[in-house]
Symmetry: D2
């Protein structure tokens, strides 16, 4: 089924596998007249790139993005923008043993049953490498949003059992876990390192904050801004939960405590995460994604082979002991893609 | 923007307001040949109905559903099924004072800014009454799913700070909070009652379990089953968070603990909530929705009027002190709508 | 398959059968703030109505449209507008004999094979009565377009072998065949009358002209304005061909004759029918639809019954000897629905 | 606006310009398990290729298609198939003079007004070169259809005023105009040659016949098979009219002559072009597209420049004096894309 597109007005279609010739994205619906800032785009790509620090996989990928269409002299023409990232240096032989067994926590089993075959090289299209295409497209979305005063910042609020307790935006890109709390960041790095040495992995939580979103974005009943954000973030590999504003904590609250009072200058609190009735209310839009621990671990796991016989597996290879810090730019990109669609939406009133 | 449809193959379009002449749904894509079980449909409607118990609003609505098209002698013809629920007995004068002030926690402010006007009678289309149309459509979806052996059960796992600790499916419909733990249920009822007397309200968590889902439902990359569920559930009024399987708890877990081992007879645990790589794995599909406390409370709240001046508001009227029990059939309906779309999806392989 | 919606931004979903309780349409995406002109809407409905003249079916249908949602005090709210037309006075017993045989030229055979059953009463959903819903929705589209200076006029250019040779817009609604050439109109009426007496029927051509369309409507590559018009018009019952501007005549022309020269004040001819590269060029948009002769005739026809045995059929009942004049408002409505989607489209440039 | 995709289940998204680095297509929704026949694909590409005969442009383009994703060992995986055609040897300097004037009959004027800028090199994305991507995707669609016994043949029925009078399928690819009537073909070649020498161009008509289409393809009311075909064919550059079966001729016919009688072994004639009520009836599906004469001619034409001042233009360059023969594989591809979507559609009945 056609299921590789996201967005209605700024519509992306991604393609490509981890170890094939390349992967990329077609953006359809980007307005004409935008001078694409390639430095900004490369910066976002670098934030997602493997091998950027000791808490990520030591695999190194260049992720050079080339624009094949939709621009003249660097300016968008209104026509589809195809961006292609050629793969290079992938070592497919690492995956030979995976041909016959299903990795727990991976798409191996389900995709093979669904499609009757699967691309074992690096997980094929189920690889997190697909998110490179999202980040590339998201960067252009962010550039359109920035023109309207909308900025998007993501950070890590939790890794394993360590929870950030402060928010200093300047701190985020200063540490390799992208945590806005320097102390927590240091402990997060240690915790990841410890798990890495055990051959194990950790999960965590990414929070994305969009500031400058005007009142009125999002569309009832089924295209609510929060529903779209949940959809967007849950589509990211390894995300298992999404919440808006107070989120799950609101379940144990009361109406009198959870309702955000309204004053002449705006809302006096933001339990709603910037969204009421599915429509933005002018406060920062706040979404959080729970990311499960990396499935690929260097511990022996119980599984089966393609014939259904019991098998033991140690995945091996070079994997992220914690993918959460690299998840930050991906989650930001998905939020940007949701918001740019609101920016381009048809008028709600005459 | 056209935003009142949900689903691709079994596509619903809902319409109507709380206090207008009526509300309803058009189902487009229901296959021909299904004899609609109207008793089953009415049963689901009754579960969502206001006035069903002392923990819900004392407003009474009949919610009689009439089918206007798409059937001959009770059998679906493959053409659009329009179901209409006429409104009756709504008392619009209760809402006069709301014309001039915005209720905290409601869509009043955002929708009025977005559309330039709003239907103040009962919240208009932002009313939870819209979910009646979802339940009606969801019932037909469930009937199609049941033919394939898929069953859907929802229950309340938390209200306020009270958390269910047991799961006895038979218990769910025996208590008015729809909790599978009888002891917790009794305490939940008490807690709601206490808050009702204070003029306050409580939130909670609904869990929906789909059993019998075959391996292979859901479509990478952007139409993942979990992403679709998150989208569906987050579109329900008052839902502020969605998680699949271990959900947010997986953020503080490790790969070795969170990965579900695979044995010859299937998965040995279900942290994945039945979904890997966005595709069902044959285990029960498990999703949870966090529902915020009812916004309409009988306590004085700080707000503003349409001119931006400070105002105080006590909503009054007859509202649910806790909408979570009535949210169960709504969340079930949304899960059914997601799953029936998977049932009807084009073939993934030749 | 979900296939009863049309349009992306001003999206209609129609439902209902000829002889069921009623039929109607949900409009999703109409902007808030439009005061619906119900007189204008009823005027369009009357133009489509059966029984309006001796060249149409003598069946009389009231086609009263009631708005069930999406307005407050007659003003659109931005939420779905459901319009319902109750059926009354249909005589289903006329259709008893059709239960067992397939009418040539009708959807009987194909729909029964596709769906496994069919609604024989009045053709069910295949009835041209479905177009009443299009006209109702189209009227609101026209009201939005009129605000932008876009007007839509349809007329009959051919019935049988009689071709209009003059264009006097004032003449169109003065004669019962809606022909802009009074002399041709008189001969068309005679021709229809002659065929009616024979129990036979005639086809013809409807031309729709949209004036005031600004430069820039329509979207390459697959949402070209001409492609959308072709899709819209070909979806109307009995339409078997669509052409834009010079249309089929351009096939026998030359580039030097067919290209429209451009002068400082605009195009000097309009072979392009107002569309170049799929985008409007500021000239009148001109589309024509070829309508086949009414399939229901009072002549004996060769067919088969549901068992595949040969059968003879004389349809009987009260049918239009020529549906072309009543097709005018329907074709206008479809053009309006295409154009309003262009009006509401996202911006093409920043 | 996102407008570069076609199809719902076998969904293509095309990108790229005539003189940029390349162009291509992403196919989303092709089922897994198809071994792509690259020879068949190249054969179709060669039929569309410029420079294939003296009646086409002497420009030579290789149109080598490379598959970048979605296959393993030549077998489709169910994931997006990206096919890229690199551009080479385009001479952009030919287009310098077009920077300042609008070519009559081209998209120059409308696209520049719509987008605020345009890619003048070879017409950018408005170039017929985009159809190479359609043909590549269409070839894979045809391969899926062939497995179900559906075959698609296109031929030229008219060029200028010369009309084919015989149909010998074997003849079509024997002559350079793809006409099934050898005598007419010879005269067509002469006529094109004559116009080429004058610096002028000719139009014509392409007919596409799909055999083996089972009863039941196409979906009422707005996704009728004929409506989809009209949409698909009208989206092809230079097409100004589409008709199904008897098409425009049915306008001057009568019901008794136009209705196709039904016998025990099927329909006894095919005025319906294989479609009744928007659904295929088992007869060959027959569609025709009217193609206007090539707009680029070597005659002086009256136009304006970007400042609105009168200008004279002789396009120059190497253009097809008649694009109709090369339009055959393009029209076939579009019909294939429509039909493969029917093949993959969800079930109409349970």
């Amino acid at each position: 089924m056609a299921s590789n597109s996201f967005g209605r007005f700024f519509r992306i279609t991604t393609f490509g596998e981890s170890h094939g010739p390349g992967l990329g994205v077609v953006i359809d619906g980007c307005p004409a007249g935008l001078t694409i800032d390639m430095d900004a785009l490369r910066y976002e790509m670098a934030r997602r790139r493997p091998g950027q620090s000791k808490v990520t996989t030591p695999r190194s990928e260049d992720d050079d993005v080339r624009i094949w269409s939709g621009t003249v002299d660097g300016v968008t023409t209104g026509h589809p923008i195809m961006m292609l990232i050629e793969n290079q240096g992938q070592k497919s032989h690492h995956y030979d043993k995976l041909k016959t067994v299903y990795r727990p926590g991976h798409a191996d089993f389900t995709w093979e049953k669904k499609y009757g075959l699967r691309d074992v090289r690096g997980g094929g299209r189920s690889s997190a490498r697909e998110t490179a295409a999202r980040v590339a497209a998201g960067s252009i979305a962010r550039q359109l949003l920035a023109r309207e005063g909308v900025s998007i910042v993501g950070h890590v609020t939790q890794i394993g059992t360590i929870v950030a307790e402060k928010f200093d935006a300047d701190e985020i890109e200063r540490n390799i876990v992208r945590c806005a709390d320097a102390d927590a960041a240091a402990r997060m790095v240690e915790a990841i390192d410890a798990k890495r040495k055990e051959g194990d992995s950790l999960g965590g939580i990414v929070e994305v904050i969009a500031e400058g979103v005007p009142v009125g974005w999002g569309d009832p009943i089924y295209e609510k801004l929060d529903a779209r954000l949940a959809y967007a973030l849950m589509s990211v590999n390894a995300v298992k939960g999404v919440e808006i504003g107070a989120g799950f904590a609101s379940a144990s609250s009361t109406g009198s405590a959870n309702n955000d009072p309204i004053g002449p200058d705006g809302f006096l609190s933001n339990n709603a995460g910037g969204i009421l009735g599915g429509v933005s209310n002018g406060m920062p839009v706040v979404a959080r994604a729970a990311i499960k621990p990396t499935s690929s671990i260097n511990k022996t796991q119980q599984t089966i082979d393609a014939d259904g016989n019991p098998a033991e597996l140690e995945v091996g290879g070079r994997h992220d002991p914690c993918v959460v810090p690299r998840g930050v730019p991906v989650c930001e990109a998905m939020v940007a893609l949701v918001l740019v669609d609101c920016l381009l939406a048809p008028p709600a009133k005459i």
